[in-house]
């Protein structure tokens, strides 16, 4: 076999001497690789964003619903189950919030608040749950505010107060404002020392910190996409809470909740206690909040469930969030849950998105592979022409000492080099295209939750895979022409025109 240095020099010289051949052969590869890397990089980035919203390593354990004669006999998720799960080897025990139970508000509740001067009324029962506050502390605001304020001992602002008078026409009155500089006589104002954060409870007639609440970005999306439009309300910014509180203070995000009340006609929920009003405040938008509804520190939910429904409701979790060491352990963990605890993993939205994304990625990659495969056929066609045009040259190489393998390697090497250069050009075009799309996105697309600064993530394996594909398919396309070139009788090749 010819020395590698000579081989490389000959391949480079032959490839670069015919621009027409190069352009004809490499064109398809360039387009194919550009689409290949752009598709992969975009789905990779979208996948990364989705994973941020729906962490794949994070699963939700639920009890399968079961009923007998209309009575719920589903398995109870309690602290014993939580401990069993925590002891599993699949669980990321190094993480203190690897196993986090959630508890749903199990009785009716009704909310009343205002946003930008608009009166809002909404159901809370069924749309609220509680979670360990340590799990939600992603930013300074939630770290400071998202906790069980009623559990704080010796809070100096827990002073006696006079609650607002009941409104005969309104079951849940709008949370009263703090007193202005010139208060109007006869108007009830929030009497607490820090009216931005505290309200006067009608139950014990003392000031309580408003119940801190976080909401999912999905809620903002739903609000902006559906609700705001249909109700003529203002569109909320991505930094919704920050935006509103910057203008109106934390009090701008306050709202009242009537525990034990509902607007749903025919509701026959049985509660052990008389309905009463509490106040809450939205302190942040957080991905760990329930997707549709609101999430608060679990201690509030436990207290209210105990108060309205009894001990059973206060010790039964609605689901348990579990963070596994890695996604490959999900199957083993799910099997253990089913076999040993008769529980299952909830079909999460994240998994569905991941599956959809996988299918989309597969389709896009297949499209680009088809383009590359067609370009491989194009390369084969061009190389067949080239080999025919260069018969004398190839015959001469044989005459001066090239073996069949040498000729095969020279032609395959030319195909590989065209593929590599075509791949590099395709990659450059792909990156440029991505930069253009990102520029357009930054300048013309409105901001929304999770909007990435770039829609593409060119990971090293995408780049390497693109180049390997371009080179591989080119070599594949060049193989048959190369074989023909190598098996040509040199004598005939030298004499034929």
């Amino acid at each position: 076999m010819m020395p590698a240095r000579s081989l490389v020099r000959m391949i480079a010289g032959n490839t670069l001497r015919s621009r027409r051949h190069f352009v004809l052969s490499a064109f398809g590869i360039v387009i194919g690789i550009a689409t290949f890397v752009v598709f992969l990089a975009s789905t990779e980035q979208v996948g990364a964003v989705l994973e941020k919203i729906f962490p794949v390593e994070q699963v939700q354990v639920v009890a399968p619903r079961a009923s007998l004669l209309g009575k719920d006999i589903s398995k109870k998720l309690d602290d014993a189950i939580v401990e069993k799960i925590r002891s599993r080897p699949e669980v990321d025990r190094a993480n203190p919030t690897a196993v986090v139970p959630r508890m749903a508000l199990a009785f009716p509740a009704f909310g009343h608040g205002s946003f930008e001067g608009n009166d809002l009324r909404f159901e809370v029962g069924g749309f609220a749950d509680g979670i360990n506050p340590d799990y939600v502390q992603d930013d300074d605001r939630t770290r400071e505010l998202f906790k069980d304020w009623d559990g704080v001992k010796d809070d100096p602002r827990r002073q006696a107060c006079v609650p607002p008078p009941p409104d005969p026409g309104e079951e849940v009155i709008q949370s009263p404002r703090a007193a202005p500089r010139n208060p109007q006589p006869g108007v009830y104002y929030n009497p607490c020392a820090s009216p931005e954060r505290y309200y006067c409870s009608e139950v014990d007639r003392t000031c309580h910190h408003r119940v801190p609440v976080v909401m999912s970005p999905t809620m903002i999306e739903l609000y902006n996409g559906q609700f705001a439009k249909s109700h003529g309300l203002p569109v909320a910014d991505v930094d919704f809470v920050r935006f509103v509180t910057a203008r109106g203070g934390l009090g701008a995000m306050r709202f009242s909740v009537g525990l034990g009340l509902t607007t749903i006609a025919g509701s026959n929920a049985v509660t052990a206690r008389k309905a009463h009003r509490i106040e809450a405040v939205l302190v942040g938008i957080n991905t760990k909040a329930m997707p549709i509804g609101m999430t608060m520190p679990i201690q509030y939910i436990q207290r209210w469930n105990r108060e309205f429904l009894g001990e059973e409701a206060a010790t039964t979790y609605s689901s348990i969030i579990v963070r596994l060491k890695n996604r490959n352990r999900i199957a083993v963990f799910a099997q253990w849950l089913q076999d040993d605890l008769d529980l299952r993993l909830e079909d999460s939205l994240g998994e569905k998105f991941a599956t959809a994304l996988f299918v989309i990625r597969l389709v896009l990659v297949l499209i680009s592979l088809v383009i590359i495969a067609i370009s491989s056929i194009n390369i084969a066609h061009n190389f067949f022409m080239q080999v025919t045009e260069r018969r004398r040259e190839l015959g001469l190489l044989r005459a001066v000492g090239a073996t069949q393998s040498d000729v095969l390697l020279v032609v395959l090497g030319e195909a590989a080099l065209i593929g590599l250069i075509g791949g590099l050009i395709g990659l450059a075009i792909g990156v440029a295209l991505a930069a253009g799309i990102d520029w357009g996105s930054a300048h013309y697309l409105p901001r929304f939750p999770y909007k990435p600064s770039s829609w593409f993530h060119f990971k090293w394996w995408i780049v390497a895979g693109g180049l390997a594909c371009s080179t591989g398919f080119s070599v594949l396309g060049g193989y048959l022409p190369a074989r023909r070139a190598s098996t040509m009788e040199p004598a005939q090749a030298l004499t034929q025109n």
Binding site: L396, G401, A491, L494
Partner: protein, 249 residues
């Protein structure tokens, strides 16, 4: 000198070319046309042999078989002690690279390479390409084209092209030079210069020459003439030669 060193290295009592009952046909079935019909002869080291015959007599095919560029249907072909019929492609390629030089009627120069690049082309397939440039320039000096090393073949006359082809053939100091109508595309004056060069190469360097030609002036300088007709050897009388050349002696 480029050629003499290798000849002395490879001196052996056996013929440099040995052919026995070599046959070759083209086509298949009813269209099968025999080109060579049982050719047998030897060429000794240092000989200057002209292979003459009319077009289609099979002389170029025979030359290609000797050079390992074509394979016979049957018979024995031994070149420099190598059985080219049974040896591997790699062995035959090595033989062509190291011990056999080819000169073609159509020059077969690569237009994208310089003159020097064409001359040192065989070095690309040699295990060691050391001093390739120096050896290429020496070969060019021998054919009188030292000044044209960096030119492209397209800038040369026919005679110059053929001399470049000869320099390429001599690059690896071959023991055997196979030439197929080397003066066929040259005017008479240039052709004469090429023939004189071959004669000198044979006489001074001892390079064995086997030239296919149908030109009388070429065969007249050979020490032995082998005539062919219809794929067979004919006697080497003046009449036979004249017939082989296609006219009276």
């Amino acid at each position: 000198m480029v050629g003499s060193a290798r000849v002395s290295e490879k001196s052996t009592p056996t013929p440099i070319v040995r052919l026995r009952d070599v046959t070759k046909s083209y086509g298949t079935g009813a269209a099968r046309t025999p080109v060579l019909r049982g050719i047998s002869f030897d060429v000794d080291r240092g000989e200057f042999v002209a292979l003459v015959g009319q077009s289609g007599s099979g002389k170029s095919t025979l030359l290609n078989i000797i050079g390992g560029l074509d394979q016979p249907d049957s018979g024995e072909v031994e070149v420099l002690g190598v059985d080219t019929l049974r040896s591997t492609d790699t062995r035959r390629a090595g033989l062509r690279n190291q011990s056999i030089g080819f000169v073609f009627q159509a020059f077969n120069l690569l237009d994208h390479l310089t003159v020097l690049g064409n001359v040192i082309l065989p070095a690309s397939f040699a295990r060691s390409a050391a001093d390739a440039d120096a050896r290429g320039r020496e070969a060019l000096r021998r054919v009188g084209l030292s000044d044209l090393a960096s030119r492209r073949p397209g800038e040369l006359s026919g005679g110059q092209k053929q001399r470049v082809a000869i320099a390429r053939a001599l690059f690896n100091a071959p023991a055997l030079l196979l030439c197929d109508e080397p003066t066929g595309n040259l005017d008479s004056e240039t052709g004469k210069e090429v023939i004189d060069f071959f004669r000198e190469l044979n006489a001074k360097d001892g390079v064995t020459l086997l030239i296919v030609t149908h030109e009388r002036r070429v065969s007249s300088v050979a020490r032995r003439v082998i005539a062919m007709r219809d794929g067979m050897l004919v006697e080497t009388s003046d009449e036979a030669l004249a017939a082989a050349h296609g006219g009276p002696a």
